[in-house]
Symmetry: C2
Subunit: 181 residues, 2 copies
DNA sequence: GTCTATAATTTGATAGAC
DNA sequence: GTCTATCAAATTATAGAC
């Protein structure tokens, strides 16, 4: 019962997370949804519109999964675990990297509206980590970039273990930083 | 006095590091080198050949810059600083991200020969970090992915500070891990 | 080694019928 | 909302002259 528009976004997200902005075309999407490319254009007049819809929905999904950065009774270690788990789950479920990491690597080819959404996503992640873990900005940035790089490398090596492995060290880092205060 | 072949690789590397595998074309390269695209094909019969040459030279340059992972009198902290500095320098000099990180994000679109070189690069980095810093594999992976992600995000946000910021936290992580032993 | 010319394919996008 | 048909542009790649 999913409407065509949603199906298009589903297929597009999968393709973007595998091959980036140039990794999907209206024709390929149309073929998978079993309509014609002109029908895709009816829902999304141009590529920028479609990419924007994909990026916005993805960002919202991840932020929803992260939830409240600092709920009562949550420790820094717990929130670090939660953060890693959300991305690990997203990777395992899709078998592909983070949409933001994929598109960041093509920044020069992106419409500025799409870049804007990606920047918002980065800022939201760093902000969540600062609040949830009580760590300084540079530590929050390290944790974010490490998870992004982990997913990207895991996709390259086709080895999910990379995400789990980096997650473990992220959690250890948080523990060490916590103990040092 | 640089020969045409070298000029082509120079231009191609710059373009790949900005826009990935689909971010360069024979025609664009030809225009910058001031020859025709068929002449580029003379030096590199197809795109795979050219990408391979770019990736191999890049890998060699970075590994040369890293040097001996464990020279006498070098501490883990010193080597961590050295590692971060090499990538930071590469980012500042080129104004663009790591070639490996760029291409990793398009793994599905790459010829397997190119993927192979990227995987070698990842393994060489992790191995260097393990030897030079005396850290376990998962920590080496975290440091590598954090630097890759930092360069990618710095390119997106057009903010060099991101690389410096993550570098600082990487060094702090190494110090904490060192003190915990 | 570099050129002109061109083939074969793919792409994003639009017009207009139903 | 979906279709057929089509356009203009760009892409990788090759053949053959000089």
């Amino acid at each position: 019962m999913t409407d065509t528009r949603t199906k298009i976004i589903d297929v597009a997200e999968r393709m973007v997370r595998v091959g980036g902005y140039n990794g999907f075309s209206f024709r390929e999407i149309a073929a998978e949804v079993d309509i014609k490319s002109s029908s895709v254009h009816y829902h999304f007049p141009n590529k920028e519109d479609l990419a924007l819809a994909v990026a916005n929905r993805y960002m919202q999904n991840i932020l929803d999964a992260l939830g409240d950065p600092a709920p009562v009774d949550a420790t820094a270690e717990m929130q670090a675990g939660r953060y890693c788990q959300v991305f690990q789950h997203s990777f395992v479920e899709s078998g592909s990297a983070c949409l933001c990491g994929m598109l960041s690597s093509e920044t020069a080819l992106l419409p500025s509206s799409v870049k804007q959404v990606l920047i918002e996503f980065v800022d939201a992640n760093v902000s969540w980590l600062e609040q949830g873990l009580g760590v300084p900005t540079s530590d929050a940035r390290l944790i974010y970039t490490a998870m992004e790089g982990a997913m990207s490398t895991a996709a390259l090596k086709q080895d999910v273990q990379w995400v789990a492995s980096v997650s473990e060290s992220v959690k250890r880092f948080v523990e060490l930083a916590q103990a040092a205060t």
